[in-house]
Amino acid sequence: MQKKGQVTVFVIIGVLTLFILLFIFFVKDAAFERFTRSPNVEAHLQTELDGITAEIQRCMHQETSKALQELGQGGGYFTPIHTLTFYGKPFTYLCTIINGKTPCVQQLLTRTSIETRLNQRLQTTIPTCMKLQGYKNKDYTLTTGTFAVSSAILPRAVLVNATYPLTLTKGPYEVRRTTYSLSVVAPLGLILDGVHDIINAEASDNYFDPLAYSFLKQSTYDLAKHISYPHRVYIVKVYGSDYTFQFAVEGVRAA
């Protein structure tokens, strides 16, 4: 009888042990996950944030490139008013006739003024471009702040800096990013210096000599000068780059 009782005890202990082992087997994954959860969540949030950052930078690059092309076609303006139509295309007058007299009076085309126009354009187009729907309604909260952008025209590139506060929150975990920057390779700054020289010559001498300028600048610029009488049309590039900047200079008919 005593031996039977011992067997029963052992059976009970064995069954309990089995249950405990089964319990451990079933809960080990959950427990493991519980212990290792915090770094996974942060890494996950960071991955998501990297994806959003890449999307923002893609839009910054895409929209800046597009805007720079438009600026080049528009002679530094996005929707110019005073233009000459040549080959069916509009060319912005950067030097205009006032009071019917030559030489012309120049539109002051400074880097700062173009940066201002570029900023205004990008301020609208970059947020429109960004496709962040895929990052919303997920298992974390995406909080966004106000988007702001500023650009700097350098000789061979345009630097774009943006601030766009982003916060991804999940429980106690949070990742943030505020600033984004990139540069778009386009020799706008270099071209603007050349354009300034061309307009200065036109505004003072009523003439610009492309060959003499080639000597002066060691053939840096690939210049094409056309005459749509009495106006002049200039198409300016820098050798080694496809970026094009074009504009017109207003003239007066000879008496």
Partner: protein, 1231 residues
């Protein structure tokens, strides 16, 4: 009575009618005016432009509209120089424009008058150039305002030695090194012991500013030439350093291997100067060197010759490409070319578009006035040249020219630097040769033009060789004088003309007619012919001077008329003669001469066609080639080629622009100005009577001679009967183009097609790529016919006939139709043919969902030439009777064009498409019957799925960090719209259609099929392929593409920054603490889109970002960063063209070491005196207390210094660190 009453009533009625109409008109008039737009001024437009005249107030930014024109608007009417905050100077800007840019406005002042805008010496490395403050700052240079002249600037660099400054291991001027002891003259940094570890020699090659390839060390210092290129081909073919796509840097040919051979110009200079048939015009195609320039013409050029509508062109070679610079269709500039002598063995072809100043010629009545070099006129006269000689001597003229801008004296090929005009007068110029003379400034004639003062010395000299010496007045010995010129004074060198009747005409006739009538007062010839009444009878006849009634007289005086512009009778470039503009009048002033019609029948005053030969005007031959002038003039004038060339170049303008290049050569010309008259020069090429080869002037001169002979003869002859002198006059007026517009098309048509433009530069422009370089101009168009009118089209300027009597609508021709016939049943297969005679009808059936592209050309009434027109279209048979106005424009903006296209991107299935096209010409003549277009897509069940016809973009590269990529596809048939899954994508091949990702689809347009867009995600691989499929809208079951269509996205590797070095005297690592006054920053980039080619910028302490001095490559350098002595953050940012970016930030403390090295220990070991210092230093010792002569340790410039033990037991030791901190002398006594 009744009758009178009726008249009275009628009169009253008429008076009332007149009054009421007048009242009505006066009332209506203001209202009619009110309808006109009011001119106003946008001080700033909505797009940011300033001071734009407008009639549309909405174009102005809010509050920036002024109701008066800009010239009368405050701020816009004020012009001057604007200096922006970064010192950029802009001349001739408005105050408004300047204010908007926050600049400082200087009203009415030229920027050249402001010091900040004047170029001064800018030192960048060891280069010195004149730059404005703005440019020098951008170059990162140091400005030296005290060096205000180019010479002083150049001297500064040449007189200041260059070398390596070991303070920061940069190679530059000695003056930029903070210590002379650290300066190693003419030694590369890679060879200086303290720099050679961080500055590795021959690290890489780069192109230098002078166009050659140079080695650079790893610190960014330029070393010796790696490959000497020759950008201007001075020693052979022109070559220029260029970086290849492979990254290799080497010289590459920049010659223009073959240039255009203009069929009317002898570019090679092989014309013998004879008639047109003798000109060798087809042998050119010359090889031109980089930046060579020359002239091309459309027809003959020169006095009296240029045809209406023609202009001059300058061509030049740049980087292997022939370029065109039009001088101006109004011939306000003319092209002159020749050869500029750079060295005795090296010449460069150079042409310029010089101002045509011919307008002032007509005011000159004598030769002296005419030959003023500033006027550029030609004296046409019948007078013979005479040399004034006296006692075997001739009158010599010797010019000296002073360029006050360059501060140089210019004479006969030499330049002498004179710091001020006063210095000239302090010098003495002596002539030594057959006679000895001193040139006296007090007796010189001085003329000034801009920066150039010319002193003309005139004296009697015996012919012979002379040497001109420049001496100091105080120095009487010739031996000390500088020989500045050697001249030969021959009898031929000076010519003076006797004064007489002549005409001062422009060198090249301007393309205008404003001066045509101004010479009419000079074209009246009193008593030109002598008439007598027959001794028997009453008939009058001309007996003397009757040649004035001949055609030669008309030709001659017409040539004179031609000379003043587009005046008189002339051909146009198409070879059509117009006699309007010239009229000989045999009875001037209304004189009634008896029997005058025997010589001057009615209608004989004009020049009949055929009198003047077009061939004489067709060929330019060598044109205004100064070299040719030299070839014939040299022997007579004894003057150099360059003298004549530069006379024209310098005098005619463009001097300041070319002077920098041609240097001394221009000076020759200026010095020579005045020694050769245009008369003499022109004589040499046959423009004047004595060598006459050209019909126009010859006739003129003959005419003039004839007149003079007649006048003289008339004095001596009498007749037996009543006789009289009779006057004759010529009326010169504006040339008129031939009536009509039949030749208009030639203006914009290449020569190979019968037009007037060179094929090489007048290709058909298709809307992309560079524009053609020769265009039809307003002037050329207008010269071809009275109805010719220039209009702009997308294909370029077109000259069209705008004949008001033309009521014939344009024709339309079918140029090309692209379609695909159906090739499968049950639809109709075969019998698919195009009928395009007056229609576009495709019989049979076309492949369902295929595209049809139709290209049309509008033509003139007889379908012989293209004609610009606007075309409209309508779709659907119910619209076949629509008016032009009710149809839709084919071209964007309804622009006029000769080529028109209509595209159907997707013709669907089982559809018959009917379209109608109407075109309207410039005169608003509209086609009466539309061009019908009919075709049918295959009538068969839609069993085929759609096809993806295009991906946008076609090639995809993404930055390394990007995981998404936006994409648009175009399909050939309708797909379900929106996000209902018309087209789908997956990153896994053969994904079931219903498991694929949906795209967002939009319906197509007439010329564009339906499009679907998406953003591809999860791009993680270097090359990731995506799979696309679409379904159509067929009912009841959509056809789904069975096969995936693949699209690959190339993911570039990350752009990385490598080899980041901060080069300081202590090393080349970017340490948290760096010592020095400045450091050089170098880095390389790898990966990305183009093997690491990127643009890098840096920002010190979040200031304005600055592009690296050398960037847009893989090796980036920024020399001379000079932070203050404090903590700094330096952010470096690089980006490639597709958006890969690489950033890094350096936080460092920049310190200047102000502590002297301390001697920690001094020991004697193995007969060596050893000293240990607490920092790297240079230690010296002396053996006496006075320390008068320190001797360097044998081993020093480290922390352990050693030197053999001298015999003494007492030493003074002093150490100095590399920042020149010197410690106090330390006394050491050996016990």
């Amino acid at each position: 009575m009744k009758f009178y009453s009726f008249l009275k009533t009628k009169a009253i009625f008429q008076i009332l009618l007149v009054i009421s109409l007048a009242f009505f008109m006066s009332v209506r008039s203001p209202s009619a005016q009110a309808a006109d737009p009011v001119p106003g001024c946008c001080k700033q437009t909505t797009s940011g432009e300033s001071c734009v005249d407008t009639t549309n107030q909405s174009q102005c930014a809010p509050g920036k509209y002024s109701p008066s024109s800009c010239s009368l608007t405050a701020g816009c009417g004020q012009t001057g120089c604007c200096v922006t905050t970064d010192n950029q100077c802009s001349t001739a800007t408005t105050k408004t424009s300047c204010d908007l840019s926050n600049g400082v406005f200087h009203e009415g002042i030229s920027c050249t008058a402001l010091d900040v805008c004047k170029p001064s010496c800018c030192v960048v490395g060891n280069n010195c150039n004149m730059q404005t403050t703005y440019s020098c700052t951008n170059l990162g240079g140091e400005q030296k305002p005290e060096l205000g002249t180019e010479q002083a600037c150049t001297n500064y660099c040449s007189s200041t030695t260059s070398g390596c400054c070991s303070t920061d291991c940069h190679y530059g001027l000695a003056s930029t090194c903070d210590s002379s002891t650290n300066f190693y003259q003419n030694i590369q940094c890679s060879k200086v012991s303290s720099c050679k570890e961080q500055c590795l020699a021959h690290h890489h090659k780069q192109c230098g500013d002078d166009g050659s390839a140079y080695w650079y060390d790893s610190c960014g210092n330029r070393e010796e030439t790696a490959q000497l290129c020759d950008p201007d081909g001075r020693h052979g073919p022109s070559t220029q350093c260029l970086a290849q796509d492979t990254g290799e840097v080497r010289c590459q040919s920049t010659d223009c291997a073959t240039t255009w051979d203009n069929p009317v110009v002898d570019e090679a200079g092989t014309t013998d100067g004879g008639d047109s048939t003798g000109a060798d015009l087809t042998n050119d195609h010359l090889v031109r060197k980089n930046r060579d320039s020359w002239c091309e013409y459309q027809a003959a050029v020169g006095p009296t010759l240029d045809l209406p509508g023609t202009q001059h062109y300058r061509h030049y070679c740049e980087r292997g490409q022939e370029k065109v610079d039009p001088c101006g269709p109004d011939r306000s500039r003319i092209c002159i070319y020749g050869s500029v002598q750079l060295t005795p063995t090296d010449a460069k072809a150079m042409g310029i578009c010089a101002p045509n100043k011919g307008e002032s010629c007509v005011a000159c009545n004598d030769q002296n006035c005419c030959e003023d070099p500033n006027k550029k006129c030609v004296w046409l006269s019948s007078n013979k040249e005479e040399y004034k000689q006296k006692d075997g001597k001739i009158t010599a003229k010797i010019p000296l020219t002073y360029d006050s801008k360059e501060k140089e004296l210019l004479i006969a090929g030499e330049r002498e630097s004179f710091s001020s005009p006063d210095a000239i007068s302090k010098a003495e110029f002596r002539l030594r040769g057959s006679e000895s003379k001193t040139l006296s400034f007090s007796q010189a004639t001085k003329t000034s033009s801009k920066n150039i003062d010319t002193y003309l010395f005139q004296m009697q000299l015996s012919p012979g060789d002379y040497t001109l010496l420049a001496c100091e007045k105080s120095d009487t010995k010739d031996d000390n004088c500088v020989i500045i010129a050697q001249k030969t004074i021959t009898a031929d060198s000076i010519k003076e003309l006797t004064q007489g009747k002549g005409y001062c005409v422009p060198f090249v006739p301007p393309a205008r007619s404003s001066q045509c009538t101004t010479i009419n007062s000079k074209l009246v010839y009193p008593k030109a012919a002598y008439w007598e009444e027959a001794c028997i009878g009453t008939d009058w006849s001309c007996t003397e001077g009757c040649d004035v009634y001949n055609n030669d007289f008309k030709k001659g005086t017409n040539s004179l008329c031609n000379a003043y512009g587009d005046c008189g009778a002339k051909y146009n470039l198409a070879g059509v003669f117009s006699s309007t503009g010239y009229q000989r009048d045999c009875s001037p002033g209304g004189a009634s001469y008896k029997d005058i019609n025997t010589q001057c029948p009615a209608g004989s005053g004009v020049i009949p066609p055929g009198t003047i030969n077009f061939e004489e005007y067709k060929y330019a031959k060598m044109g205004l080639n100064i070299l040719h002038l030299d070839m014939t003039a040299l022997s007579e004038q004894g003057t150099s080629t360059t003298t004549i060339l530069a006379y024209s170049l310098g005098g005619l303008g463009g001097l300041s622009l070319v002077a920098g290049y041609v240097g001394a050569t221009i000076a020759v010309g200026l010095a020579g100005a005045g020694t050769i008259s245009f008369q003499a020069a022109l004589s040499a090429i046959g423009y004047v009577v004595s060598f006459g080869s050209v019909g126009g002037p010859v006739g003129l001169i003959i005419g003039v001679i004839v007149i003079l002979v007649i006048i003289a003869a008339a004095v001596f002859f009498y007749s037996c009967s009543p006789n009289e002198y009779r006057d004759i006059a010529v009326s010169c007026s504006a040339w008129q183009p031939p009536r009509g517009g039949a030749d208009c098309w030639k203006c914009h048509t290449p020569q190979s097609q019968g037009g007037l433009l060179p094929d090489a530069f007048a290709f058909n422009y298709t809307g992309t790529g560079p524009l053609p370089q020769y265009d039809c101009t307003e002037q050329l168009c207008g010269s071809l016919g009275s109805f010719c009118q220039l209009t702009d089209t997308p294909q370029g300027p077109r000259c069209v006939s705008n004949d008001p009597q033309n009521v014939v609508p344009p024709n339309i021709a079918v140029k090309n139709v692209v379609f695909t016939c159906n090739d499968e049943v049950p639809g109709q297969v075969g019998n698919c043919n195009l009928e395009k005679d007056g229609k576009v009808v495709v019989t049979g059936e076309l492949k369902e969902f295929s595209s049809v592209n139709i290209t049309l050309t509008t033509m003139n009434a007889d379908a012989t030439r293209d004609e610009v027109a606007a075309c409209h279209y309508a779709l659907g048979i119910e619209h076949r009777d629509d008016t032009f106005e009710n149809m839709k424009p084919l071209e964007v903006g309804n622009t006029l064009s000769t080529t028109h296209s209509l595209s159907f991107a997707n013709i669907g299935q089982n559809k018959t498409i009917n379209a109608y096209i109407l075109c309207q010409d410039l005169n608003k003549n509209t086609m009466t019957t539309p061009l019908p277009i009919t075709f049918t897509s295959a009538r068969q069940p839609d069993k085929t799925p759609p096809t993806i016809t295009r991906f946008y973009p076609s090639i995809a590269y993404t930055p390394a960090l990007a995981t998404t990529f936006p994409l648009t596809i175009e399909t050939n048939e309708d797909v379900p719209l929106g996000t209902s899954g018309g087209c789908r994508w997956s990153s896994i091949p053969n994904t079931p259609f219903n498991h694929m990702n949906y795209m967002d689809c939009s319906s197509g347009t007439l010329s564009l099929g339906p499009t679907c867009s998406t953003t591809l995600t999860n791009i993680n691989q270097t090359q990731q392929t995506f799979y696309f499929r679409c379904q159509d809208t067929a009912e009841p079951t959509h056809n789904i593409m069975q096969q995936d269509l693949l699209y690959s996205v190339q993911k570039t590797s990350a752009l990385t920054l490598n080899d980041l070095h901060c080069i300081t005297p202590l090393g080349n690592t970017c340490d948290p603490t760096m010592y020095g006054t400045a450091f050089n920053l170098t880095l390389t980039t790898q990966g990305g889109y183009a093997q690491g080619t990127s643009v890098c910028t840096y920002q010190l302490d979040r200031s304005v970002p600055i592009e690296f001095f050398v960037t847009n490559t893989t090796s980036h350098q920024q020399p001379g960063i000079r932070p203050t002595a404090q903590d700094h953050i330096l952010a470096i940012h690089c980006a490639d063209t597709i958006g890969n970016i690489a950033n890094t930030t350096l936080a460092f403390t920049f310190m200047q070491d102000t502590t002297a090295p301390h001697i920690l220990r001094a020991t004697i070991d193995d007969h060596l005196l050893r000293v240990l210092t607490d920092e790297k230093a240079m230690c010296n010792y002396a053996t006496n207390t006075t320390a008068s002569s320190y001797i360097p340790f044998a081993t020093t410039q480290t922390i352990m210094h050693a030197t053999p033990l001298p015999g003494n037991t007492f030493f003074m030791i002093q150490c100095e660190d590399i920042f020149h901190n010197t410690g106090s002398p330390t006394k050491i006594t050996i016990l």
